[in-house]
C-alpha cells in the first residue's frame, strides 16, 4: 500500500497554565495516497492539533510524522513539506492575503519561486478546479463565505500539493456554502487525484469518504469505512458528534423495537431502510 503520510506513535504536548496537556496521545495512523479521509471529533478532541502535525506546523513531542518519506522534523524540507501537504483553515477571512482573488491564489507559487507564466497557468487552473475562475478579479470581502473558502482551497491547489488537509472548513458557512465545499473536495479527490483529509464535526460530511477516523481526548477511538463507523450511533453521540437526523431517527426506531439497518445516512437510504423494516413486520 502506498502511504502518503505515516504517523508513528505521535504524542503532542503543550503547556497551559503550568499544566502539561497531551492534545494528541500516542497516535499511529497511515494515510493512503489518493484517499478521502474524514477525521471526526468535537472541539478539543485533538483533531486540529493532529492536522497541524501533518504539515510540520506542529512538531511531535514524541514519535514521528513521515510525509512522502520525509520526516517533518527535518528542517531542510520545511517548505517542501508544507507544499506537499496543503492546509485550509476554518475562518476563510483570515487566510486570504491579497485584495484580488487571482493575486491571492498566486501567493503560494510566488513564494515557491515559480516562473511567472507557470504561475499564471496554475492560478487559472486552480481557480477553474474550484469553480471560481469568473471571480478572479474580485475582492475577497465581496464574496460569500463559501466562495472565500473555495479561493483559499485554490490557493493551496496552485502549489500542486499531493495532499490537502482541511481543518473544519465548513464550520462558519451556511448550508449552501457547506455543500459547495464538500462538492469541491469530492471533485478534487476523484478527478484531480489529490489526497483529502477533512477534519469536521459534521457526520454527514463523512458520508462519501473512503475512511472515517473518530478522535476523542487526543486518541483515535474508531477507524473504518463510514458504514462501519456510523453503526455505533450511541458512542458517536457520547463523544459529542453531530449525528444527522437520519441516523438519529434510525437509532430511535431501533430502540423502539424496529429492526432497521442503522448504517445509512442519506434520506433515500434511510427511507429504504425503514420501508424494509416495515416489510419484514408484515411477513
Amino acid at each position: 500500500m502506498d502511504n502518503i503520510i505515516e504517523i508513528k506513535n505521535v504524542t503532542y504536548k503543550y503547556t497551559d497554565e503550568d499544566k502539561t496537556v497531551a492534545a494528541v496521545n500516542r497516535v499511529s495512523l497511515n494515510i493512503e495516497r489518493g484517499s478521502f479521509t474524514v477525521i471526526l471529533g468535537h472541539n478539543g478532541s485533538g483533531k486540529s492539533t493532529l492536522a497541524k502535525l501533518l504539515n510540520g506546523l506542529n512538531k511531535p513531542t514524541e514519535g514521528e510524522v513521515i510525509v512522502d518519506g520525509i520526516n517533518t522534523k527535518d528542517e531542510k524540507y520545511e517548505l517542501e513539506i508544507k507544499r506537499r501537504v496543503g492546509m485550509v483553515f476554518q475562518n476563510p477571512d483570515n487566510q486570504l492575503i491579497a485584495s484580488v482573488v487571482e493575486e491571492d491564489v498566486a501567493f503560494g507559487p510566488e513564494n515557491l519561486g515559480i516562473e511567472p507564466q507557470e504561475i499564471r497557468k496554475r492560478v487559472d487552473d486552480a481557480l477553474k478546479s474550484v469553480g471560481m475562475y469568473e471571480f478572479r478579479k474580485s475582492a475577497p470581502h465581496k464574496l460569500s463565505g463559501g466562495q472565500k473558502q473555495r479561493v483559499a482551497i485554490a490557493g493551496i491547489i496552485a502549489m500542486t500539493p499531493s495532499c490537502i488537509v482541511l481543518d473544519e472548513p465548513t464550520a462558519m458557512l451556511d448550508p449552501k456554502g457547506r455543500s459547495e465545499i464538500i462538492n469541491t473536495l469530492i471533485h478534487l479527490n476523484k478527478d484531480k487525484k489529490i489526497t483529502v483529509i477533512l477534519i469536521t464535526h459534521y457526520m454527514e460530511e463523512a458520508e462519501t469518504a473512503d475512511r472515517v477516523i473518530v478522535m476523542n481526548d487526543g486518541e483515535i477511538i474508531d477507524d473504518g469505512t463510514p458504514k462501519t463507523v456510523f453503526k455505533n450511533v450511541k458512542r458517536l453521540k457520547e463523544v459529542g458528534l453531530d449525528v444527522p437526523q437520519t441516523t438519529e431517527l434510525l437509532y430511535a426506531l431501533n430502540q423502539n423495537g424496529f429492526k432497521v439497518d442503522t448504517n445509512v445516512i442519506s434520506v433515500e437510504d434511510t427511507a429504504a431502510a425503514i420501508a424494509a423494516a416495515l416489510e419484514d413486520k408484515k411477513d
Binding site: 487566510q95 485584495s99 498566486a106 501567493f107
Partner: protein, 269 residues
C-alpha cells in the same frame, strides 16, 4: 458613520492614463508636482493649470469626482489663503483695519498659493483614481527595489507585504467594527451623544473587541501564510511582471513637453 470611509478611490476606465504603467505614473506625478511648484509667475501657473485640466479630461474620470476631492480640502485651502492674504506688506494697500492691512501683493499671493495647492491635489487625484491600490503597492515595491543593493532588501519586501495585507484587511476590519458597534448599541451603549470624554470612553467597548479580534486574525493569518510557504520573501517571484510599453513612452514625452513649457514661461517672462 464608518460607511463614509472609502478606501482606495479607483475609478474603472480604459483611458490612456489608466493603461500607463503605475511606476511611470508615480514618477511622472512626482515630477509634475515639482514643476507646478517651480512655476514662479502667473503665466507659468496658468499654463500648468491648463495642462492639469487636459490631464483630467484625458483620464476619463468624471470631473465631479475631482470636485468631491476639492471639497474635502476646502478648509485647508481657505486657511492657507487667509494666512497668505495678511502675510505680505508690499504692494498697494487695499483694505486696512486695526494693525492688519490687505495689499495687492497679499491677494496675489493668496490666489497663487491656493491655485498651486489645488493643482497639486488634482494631479495626485489623477494617480489614485486611475490606479488600483494593488497596482500602487506593487509599483512602490518595484520603485523601492534599488534599495536592496544597499542592504534594505527585506525592508522593501516587508513594507510591500504590510501594504498588501493592510489593503486586504481594511474592509474586513471596517465591517467588523460596524458589527461590534451594533452589538454594543444593542446592549444599550450610547455612542453618539455626550461630551468628548464620554464619547472617548464609549469607544472602549468597541476598540477592545476589535483589538482582540485583530490579534486573533493576525495569528491565524501568520499560520496560513506559513502553510503557503511564505518565507520572508526569499526567492519570491511575481505572477504579474510590469512591462513598459509604448503608451508609457508617450506619456513621458507629453509630460516632458509640459515641464518644458513651464520652464520656458518661467525663464522668458
Amino acid at each position: 458613520m464608518l460607511n463614509d470611509i472609502t478606501f482606495g478611490q479607483y475609478y474603472e476606465s480604459r483611458s490612456p492614463i489608466h493603461r500607463t504603467d503605475p511606476r511611470v505614473k508615480i514618477v511622472l506625478t512626482f515630477i509634475l508636482i515639482v514643476f507646478i511648484f517651480l512655476s514662479n509667475n502667473i503665466y507659468a501657473l496658468i499654463f500648468s493649470a491648463l495642462s492639469v485640466l487636459a490631464v483630467l479630461l484625458v483620464s476619463r474620470v468624471p470631473l465631479k469626482m475631482y470636485l468631491k476631492n476639492m471639497k474635502a480640502i476646502l478648509p485647508i485651502l481657505i486657511f492657507t489663503a487667509v494666512i497668505n492674504l495678511f502675510y505680505s506688506s508690499k504692494g498697494t494697500v487695499l483694505l486696512s483695519f486695526w494693525k492688519i492691512s490687505i495689499t495687492t501683493a497679499g491677494v496675489y499671493r493668496a490666489v497663487f498659493t491656493s491655485l498651486r495647492i489645488i493643482l497639486l491635489i488634482l494631479i495626485s487625484s489623477v494617480l489614485t483614481y486611475t490606479t488600483t491600490p494593488n497596482d500602487l503597492t506593487d509599483a512602490i515595491e518595484s520603485l523601492c527595489s534599488p534599495l536592496k543593493y544597499i542592504g534594505l532588501k527585506s525592508a522593501v519586501h516587508t513594507l510591500a507585504m504590510m501594504m498588501t495585507i493592510a489593503l486586504r484587511f481594511i474592509p474586513t476590519l471596517i465591517e467588523e467594527a460596524e458589527k461590534i458597534m451594533n452589538a454594543q448599541k444593542a446592549r444599550g451603549a450610547d455612542i453618539e451623544s455626550g461630551n468628548l470624554i464620554e464619547r472617548v470612553k464609549a469607544l472602549v467597548p468597541i476598540l477592545i473587541p476589535l483589538l482582540m479580534s485583530s490579534v486573533r486574525r493576525a495569528y491565524e493569518l501568520a499560520e496560513a501564510m506559513e502553510c503557503r510557504c511564505y518565507n520572508g520573501g526569499e526567492g519570491k517571484t511575481r505572477m504579474k511582471r510590469m512591462k513598459l510599453s509604448v503608451i508609457d513612452l508617450r506619456m513621458s514625452i507629453y509630460s516632458a513637453i509640459l515641464c518644458a513649457g513651464i520652464i520656458l514661461l518661467n525663464v522668458l517672462i
